[in-house]
């Protein structure tokens, strides 16, 4: 029970830390809205040319754009979650301090990242989405069950997203400079999550592959749940399986990595 409270406090800290920068949040909301606008127009032209592309109608495609903008920072699809700080701590050696704290390293960062994600969802996600829903024709469910299922899918998406970024961050133990990894994560995140283009529009075998990768648990799956295009339970199973696999892998890499830590004296 005691440790549960600890991680809740860490998560709360993560939430409040991001909530402090109000101007930055407002700027993010503005930027997400502008990008949403640009994407909406291109998607409208695309679906105008080819109605029912990927099984979406035009309103669903528009909804998908604004969901993407709402979840971009929440799920840190292009990176820039707590892993940036974790990498820096590994590089500078501050990680040694974290390791002798009476808390589990992975759970600590998971809690901090969940706090961040919850804030980003409320602070950065809601307004662009509301703007999009008010200005453009969107397809939103009217029953609360779909919204509840969507919420669960987003929460599971948060776990998968953290699982990926934690693994990447741990590679800093070997590479020392995480910039390259950060860029690669961004690349994979944007392309494979459906941020660039919905995954159900991807042609042939490429589409089959990306739809099974963990990144599709971030944007494509929750979106399909909200748009009524996917069965919630099998979506949860898919996301849950990836979350568990990634977190277990993270734990294994962590145990190898922390044995490499050498505390320099002086």
């Amino acid at each position: 029970m005691g440790s549960g409270r600890l991680y809740a406090a860490v998560a709360m800290g993560g939430f409040r830390r991001y909530a402090t920068y109000r101007a930055a949040t407002a700027a993010g909301v503005f930027t997400n809205t502008v990008f949403g606008l640009i994407l909406v127009y291109t998607y409208l032209a695309l679906w105008d040319q080819k109605p029912h592309l990927g099984g979406y109608d035009q309103a669903q495609a528009v909804t998908y754009v604004w969901l993407g903008q709402a979840l971009l920072s929440t799920l840190a699809i292009g990176g820039s979650g707590v892993e940036v700080e974790l990498m820096e701590r590994i590089r500078t050696g501050d990680i040694a301090i974290d390791l002798y704290r009476p808390a589990d390293l992975q759970l600590w960062w998971l809690a901090a990242d969940l706090g961040r994600a919850l804030f980003q969802l409320l602070g950065r996600g809601v307004i662009p989405f509301a703007f999009g829903a008010l200005v453009f024709p969107v397809a939103l469910p009217r029953d609360w069950g779909s919204w509840a299922a969507f919420t669960v899918a987003v929460l599971l998406g948060m776990a998968v997203s953290f699982g990926i970024r934690y693994l990447v961050a741990l590679l800093t133990f070997w590479l020392m400079d995480g910039t390259g990894m950060t860029h690669m994560t961004m690349l994979a995140g944007f392309f494979c999550s459906g941020m660039v283009l919905p995954l159900n529009v991807f042609p042939g075998a490429l589409g089959d592959v990306v739809r099974d990768l963990p990144w599709s648990a971030l944007l494509q799956k929750p979106a399909d749940v909200l748009l009524g295009e996917a069965d919630p339970w099998s979506t949860f199973a898919f996301q849950g399986a990836w979350a568990v696999a990634l977190l277990v892998a993270g734990r294994m890499v962590q145990s190898v990595a922390t044995r490499r830590v050498v505390v320099q004296g002086g």
């Binding site: 101007a23 930055a24 930027t31 990008f35 032209a45 592309l53 990894m181 860029h183 690349l187």
Partner: protein
Amino acid sequence: MVDGLRAYRLIGAMWIRSTMAYRASFAMTTIANFAVTGLDFVAILLMFSRIDVLGGWPLPEVAFLYGLSCVAFGLADLAIGSMERLGQRVRDGTLDTLLVRPAPVLAQVAADRFALRRLGRITQGALVLGYALGTVDIAWTPLKVLLMPVIVLSGAGIFCAVFVAGAAFQFVAQDASEVQNAFTYGGTTMLQYPPTVFGKELVRGVTFLLPLSFVNWLPAAYLLGRPVPLGLPRWVAFVSPLVAVACCALSGLAWRAGLRSYRSTGS
């Protein structure tokens, strides 16, 4: 001016040496920069795997727009893209260090963290532009050939102005530095698609308010022999250099005003 260029060169060279300390990471970031910016084009290719024209424009012509936008933005990004980090320096007070050095602040901020990896974006844009020039149907005249480098340089100038204006804005906005991404990255993304895709108001906005459409939409319409957006006359294609100079002058004024209003955080 000469001082500024010299300072810019020295600081830039220093950052290149610094980046080369981690060669594996440099290689990865350059490849990633190439690939990340290429994603936008992959998205366009994926779209065209399902359709033949977007907003009435076929793939080679969209690639032409894309290449022009990407190379122009890439040049600006390589030259002074680091200016988007100014907000950080204003926040933590490290801008003070730059103020006491005997070199123009603008040159120092522009060369700060000079990143050679940004060549990745230029290379990628140039490849797409090359592909477009090879496949697109343009009735070349000497005038049109001459216009090509002028367009690219003017486009880079316009994006440089946006970067400088964004940096000037950060003196006031500090934390809100992300706003400028909407105009820099948002701008280049928008220009990758045909103007016919967007609402008329949006096209008006990026022609008369923030003249981004002079980077590629207006000149490309002339080169490709397409109707010029908003029913503008054909000669607007040749106005781009003037627009670039005017934008740079205005953003230079904004920069001066911003720098003058700078109040250090103290410590």
